[in-house]
């Protein structure tokens, strides 16, 4: 199979379709259409976890771990905004240990915004956002120390995690914190399931922001991505059927979706 350095006609069609989907959903939502978002138990647990901290007078910890500035971080910031607003309302302490220096400005902006929305701008403490380290396990050990010193009541781990995931989650377990984790790294999901109270898997992280805020742009994005996933599902089903009938109808079966998508411009007879 040839490599893919530039877009092929098939992929261009998918990209245009993706853009059109986003535009369509944004228009629909602006016109007042309300999308149904199914219940995500882990996201519902966020509020109860913060409430528990209010009862116990313990701080809340939120971390985006190894997430670089990008789509994943933006999804995490949506959740952070919601949590920060609750924390501000309950007058709790919020701690946000950071791994990536570039993300700190965005995180600070988000939290400040949330406090302002809750009417508690004066309570916002920029020092709650602490840069620990850009080295994976130095970050993990700093996080462990923070959890043990502060005796956090709730820990929210959203974003991209690597091997330190179990260390972070175990630290929360040891202090008895209520933990909700959401990882785009599928291999860490297993560790979170063992150690956290709730785990969001894969794109539930991206959906959680829309679920919490019900903000039109986020809901529209969620709807668009779900429809694009349906298209991918369609390709998979078609591909499976064609691969299945291949022994009996090889010519029909040769029109496989992956070949259609990866054929370059030269393969098209104009």
């Amino acid at each position: 199979m040839s490599g893919l350095e530039h877009v092929t006609p098939g992929i261009l069609c998918v990209l245009i379709f993706a853009g059109w989907l986003l535009y369509r959903e944004l228009s629909r939502v602006k016109q007042g259409y309300v999308h149904f978002i199914r219940r995500i138990p882990g996201v519902d647990a966020l509020e109860s976890a913060v409430g528990r901290c209010a009862e116990q007078g313990r701080p809340v910890v939120f971390t985006t771990a190894l997430t670089d500035v990008g789509p994943t971080l933006y999804a995490c910031l949506g959740v952070l905004h919601s949590i920060a607003r609750r924390v501000a309302q309950y007058k709790l302490k919020l701690l946000i240990p950071q791994y990536t220096p570039e993300a700190m400005a965005l995180v600070e902006d988000t939290v400040r915004d949330a406090y302002r929305e809750a009417g508690r701008s004066s309570s916002f403490d920029p020092e709650s956002i602490k840069f620990l380290s850009s080295e994976q396990f130095a970050f993990a050990s700093g996080y462990m120390g923070l959890m043990h010193r502060e005796k956090a009541g709730a820990a929210f781990m959203f974003g991209a995690f690597a091997a330190e995931a179990l260390v972070l989650a175990e630290a929360g377990q040891q202090v008895g914190a209520r933990q909700v984790a959401a990882s785009v790294s599928p291999e860490q999901v297993a560790f979170f399931i063992c150690t956290c109270d709730y785990t969001l898997i894969g794109e539930e992280l991206f959906g959680s922001s829309a679920y919490l805020s019900r903000e039109p742009v986020q809901v529209a994005t969620l709807a668009a991505q779900d429809r694009l996933k349906l298209l991918c599902l369609g390709f998979i089903v078609i591909g499976v059927l064609l691969a299945t009938i291949q022994p009996w109808a090889p010519r029909v079966a040769s029109i496989m979706p992956d070949r259609l998508l990866s054929s370059d411009w030269g393969a098209i007879s104009w």
Binding site: S2, G3, L4, E5, L66, A160, A162, A163, E187, Q188
Partner: protein, 286 residues
């Protein structure tokens, strides 16, 4: 808390015991490691063609990735395939220097009279920042020798005959990626390709990322896989079949301690399930 400490001690004992005693067992046969051996064995190199090996691991995952890098380089060196070593991770720089020298030394001891010299058998291109962007640039470059410029010692690549006229990335016949980092391997799969060229990629991963690597192995994007220490151990056994003087005792000992730790984990799982039942049973009796 006391119970947790007992578990910790048990795990430490399980890992340490084979290392202290020097006990080793034959490793488990892993098809992915065998496939990787066959792939590396079947690579045919013309003059001016090279293998590109990325060592993208730091001290954290040395335990798993260093043996993998060692066995892969040993096999490439035995086959006299020139290797360019690079890294997308700054903490790998020590390993880029130490691992090939260790392998070369061991091979020279095993085969007196034969030499594996820096500049002939391998060069160290060092850490290259930019990850995906760097790889995209590398793929676009018409001449890799000019693109990579100098090695880590500051010597231009033109001074090394095996690497002096590489041409485009098509001259890279094999790409090896040894890493425990998330996202780094994705850069290789996504960006190290161009129209009309897709390299043969082999990968050494930590046990945590094995499930994810299998997606690429199954789809054919990856041709061989070393699954943690177990993969490296079986790979070294396969090398030993072809080259009986090869020494892999230390690796087998490490793999055996891993096996023992696995058994302890299984026992802990069983005990964790049985103990509450026994407690309930006793309470029921009382």
């Amino acid at each position: 808390m006391g119970g947790r400490r007992i578990i910790y001690l048990l795990m430490i004992f399980a890992v340490a015991a084979p290392i202290i005693v020097g006990f080793s067992q034959r490793p488990s046969r892993l098809q992915s490691a065998e496939r990787m051996y066959e792939v590396v064995e079947s690579v045919r190199i013309e003059p001016g063609e090279v293998a590109l090996v990325w060592l993208d691991f730091g001290p954290n995952t040395t335990a798993e990735n260093e043996p993998q890098a060692t066995v892969l380089l040993e096999h490439l060196f035995r086959r006299r395939i020139p290797v360019i070593l690079l890294s997308q991770y700054q903490q790998s720089e020590r390993f880029l220097e130490s691992i090939p020298r260790k392998v070369a030394k061991r091979l020279e001891r095993e085969m007196p009279g034969q030499h594996w010299r820096y500049g002939e058998a391998w060069i160290n291109g060092g850490f290259r920042p930019g990850s995906g962007i760097f790889i995209q640039s590398m793929v676009s470059a018409p001449d890799l020798t000019k693109f990579l410029g100098r090695d880590v010692q500051g010597m231009p690549l033109t001074h090394y005959p095996n690497f002096a006229s590489l041409g485009g990335v098509e001259r890279v016949k094999l790409v090896g990626e040894i890493t425990g980092l998330v996202g780094v391997f994705d850069n290789i799969i996504q960006f190290l390709q161009k129209d009309g060229y897709r390299p043969t990629i082999v990968h050494g991963c930590t046990s945590i990322t094995i499930p994810e690597a299998y997606i690429f192995l199954d789809s054919g994007q990856l041709k061989g896989l070393l699954e943690g220490i177990a993969g490296a151990a079986w790979y070294s056994e396969v090398i030993k079949r072809a080259y009986p003087e090869s020494d892999n005792k230390k690796l087998l000992v490490t793999n055996t301690s891993l096996g023992l730790a696995h058994l302890v984990l299984i026992l802990l799982i069983v005990f964790g399930n049985v103990a509450p039942l026994m407690k309930k049973f006793r309470r029921g009796d009382g």
